[in-house]
Subunit: 145 residues, 2 copies
């Protein structure tokens, strides 16, 4: 039923409780995990050296995060593909569902850090509404804090 699992991750090193669920599903269904991080650099609306510098940092953060998660899954024996894609997170994830042929998406309802917590949760709610495939929404273990 699930051959391809999409696992969107936020740039940076924030904990993401969705990873163990994607891993478990991949193990049980012998599926490939597609890790994707969206880099929304705002380069289309802003410009200047500060924006370029911020964009570089966000992109580096996204690459580190994808690298960390793919390595963790690979070491567990999971087939995994990692990608950093520029664009609005909602659109990047929608496209990735189609491009990867994902049968299911696994996403946190929020991350442990402040602003990302709000942003990723909001993206998850929107993905739930528009996704043509099931979405596993994973709450943080310490969600009441």
């Amino acid at each position: 039923m699930y051959d391809d699992i999409l696992l969107p991750v936020a740039p940076g090193s924030a904990a993401n409780d969705a990873v163990p669920h994607a891993r478990s599903l991949a193990e049980r269904y012998d599926a490939t995990v597609h890790v994707v991080s969206a880099v929304d650099t705002l380069e289309h609306t802003l410009s200047g050296p500060r924006v370029a510098s911020l964009a570089d940092r966000v992109e580096a953060g996204a690459e580190r995060r994808v690298e960390t998660v793919t390595t963790e899954l690979e070491e567990a024996g999971i087939d995994v593909v990692g990608n950093v894609i520029h664009g609005d997170p909602l659109q990047v994830i929608k496209n990735a569902i189609e491009d990867t042929g994902a049968d299911i998406v696994v996403m946190p309802t929020h991350t442990r850090t402040g602003l990302q917590r709000v942003l990723l949760g909001s993206v998850t709610e929107k993905i739930v509404r528009v996704s043509p495939v099931p979405v596993v929404t994973v709450p943080m273990a310490d969600r009441e804090t």
Copy 2:
């Protein structure tokens, strides 16, 4: 990772694309499926013979639905428990997560019929926000119609 799966179903005979996903997860994880249908009869706010008659019909519909789904899962060799519970659907599902010790909830984002489509989708979005365990949101196959 998933020993107990909560599968909320709406009263009536509306198709529910979440059932095959709950079944598949139960098979892969050797889990028990807890089927629950909430009957919100409004008896606490309204009264009179018409309300009582409506309440009876809704309850009968919920019992039929739970019976249909539990039978389908049992015939597939799944351990299954069915319950009809009176109360507000959001509260009934929140309580059922706790009472069943569910590790995961599987719910449709909407059903194929008009009003229930709106209501159940709305409940699913709220459950995603408050659930302490992962929620698998399942879109309808013909969701674009």
